[in-house]
Symmetry: C2
Subunit: 320 residues, 2 copies
């Protein structure tokens, strides 16, 4: 392994982005960001642990770096904020070489470029165990306007972007030993790609805030049922979901409870349906109404074949 | 283990700090901070990996949590910035129970209270290997005034706060099996305490900035020789250190190369010596002049018993 400092010097050259909101990036005791006057700062952190969140055999180092950044960008998207800077910390097992770390950061920098953000810092350590990644993204948002989990009102409709369940189906295929290279059907390929290369909905989150459409939003990281439950709990409201409306090519279980989908769930008044259609059209993103908010706090129901059953949050919980 | 969400809810209650610069803390997709108008934002991240940076037998979970926050506060101190919010991510091995995680965060919150900052977020995961902690601190600093590594000028003197080498001596004792409970001499106790409970020099960093004393600063995380070398490299200058002046009760090797001391090294014009004496007196911190900046970039010399020898950066490098 090259010494830590040479590695940092190399990253520093590659992540340099003159101007922008990062005044001082990699290479001092701390990075210095220049906030836009009048804006609030958002900060999110996501741990990815080998053997818990990923297996090195599932993907490439580039895609893993890309995903580590994507999951944090997804949190920023769910706030309706603009991402500005990323900080990526890695505890690296000794069996992984320089080429792995370089490829990982190539993936990070590629996605950072795509969203115009700077890799402004992080930390590197060896690890006597698994690869552990902590991804931090700092962003900015108009004061008081961030899309929180707490803003859903009775009568608001529930919307979800894209499709559900593909990342869960992809995870199942990856666990069975299938990879992007060995997948043969288009559906398996889509599913695996959805798991290893999720696309954060940054533009959508931004549009939902700027058009004042969404009253609350969250990204589907734990699973639709669990993430909807977060909105219900924080907003002090219940929800009714129509199973037939859930946008998925996979099983109802995958759609309801599959994690790491990184689509956005948001609440909006029925009056905003035309505006939502316009945003969906402009961004070329499917946005589907899947239910409505109503009833007692935290009580979720699933309507299915004319019957109504309780919808339990059965998404991913790391500590279970 | 309690589910992640209950754990977060509990932390959320305990870390709540009304008013202040954190508008939304633990419990949404991201935290929201309200920057002070006109200030810049500083961000620093530090990984602590069990088996690399610490051993669970060396200390208590409270002290470990305290130290994780302290090392990031030390980076903020070295910039002369005011810390505002902390984000703490943990990958926790299954053999560690709820009580461990609670005690860890009790230590974090205790030090956070001491500096008036909010624990505003983080992430929790299980770990199939070691305990891994990523500590992130966000702070604020007057625009263009942060104490960078790049500001040292020819003729500036080299100052260091407190004493050097105790954390390295403490680490040696910890590795030999000694602990805070079994140490018998005052010197061993001081050394071990210095390693497991470092005190970040936040007030000193702030004073160095506000009084315009320091032209450059860094904290002693890797070791005096390596951290001084960072200032030399970034400032394009050399340094001459007088061995007899180094403030230490331990060996010259510990003083020069021992890491994790978390004192500040800074550069200042000789004209500021009276001002420095005043700051030292007011903050009740020893500040010692140990050399001067001069000569070609990166060239460091140690004066010792009337002879001059090359001073090599031999502090800690995680990847070696």
């Amino acid at each position: 392994m090259a010494p830590e400092f040479e590695r940092i010097a190399e990253l520093r050259r590659r992540s340099h982005r003159p101007g922008g909101s990062v005044r001082l990036g990699i290479g001092d005791d701390a990075a210095i960001l220049r906030p836009e006057p009048g804006l609030e700062t958002v900060v999110t952190t996501d741990l990815l642990v080998e053997g818990v969140h990923f297996d090195l055999a599932w993907s490439t180092p580039e895609l893993l770096g890309r995903k580590a950044l994507a999951v944090s960008l997804s949190d920023v998207a769910a706030m309706g904020a603009v991402p500005r800077a990323a900080f990526m910390s890695l505890a690296v097992p000794r069996h992984l070489d320089d080429a792995f770390v370089e490829a990982f950061f190539a993936g990070v920098l590629q996605l950072a470029d795509r969203f115009g953000i700077t890799l402004a810092g992080g930390d590197l350590s060896s690890s006597p165990g698994p690869l552990v990644v902590d991804s931090v993204v700092v962003g900015e948002v108009e004061p008081g306007r961030a899309l929180c989990r707490s803003g859903a009102c009775p009568g608001d409709l529930i919307f979800v972007s894209g499709t559900l369940g593909s990342a869960a189906a992809g995870l199942r295929q990856l666990r069975s030993g299938m990879t992007l290279d060995t997948a043969t059907t288009g559906m398996d390929l889509d599913a695996i790609r959805s798991h290893v290369a999720p696309a954060p909905r940054v533009e959508l989150g931004r549009a939902l805030l700027l058009t004042s459409i969404a009253s609350a939003a969250i990204d589907v990281s734990d699973g639709f049922s669990s993430d909807l439950a977060h909105i219900c709990t924080e907003s002090g409201i219940g929800a009714v979901v129509d199973a037939a409306l859930l946008p998925t090519h996979f099983t109802l279980d995958d759609a309801l409870h599959g994690g790491e989908q990184y689509e956005l769930i948001f609440s909006a008044s029925p009056a905003f349906v035309p505006r939502i259609d316009l945003v969906a059209h402009q961004l070329k993103i499917d946005i589907t109404r899947v239910g409505r908010f109503e009833g007692p706090a935290g009580e979720m129901w699933l309507e299915r074949d004319g019957r109504r059953e309780r919808l339990e949050p059965r998404g991913w919980e790391h500590f279970k």
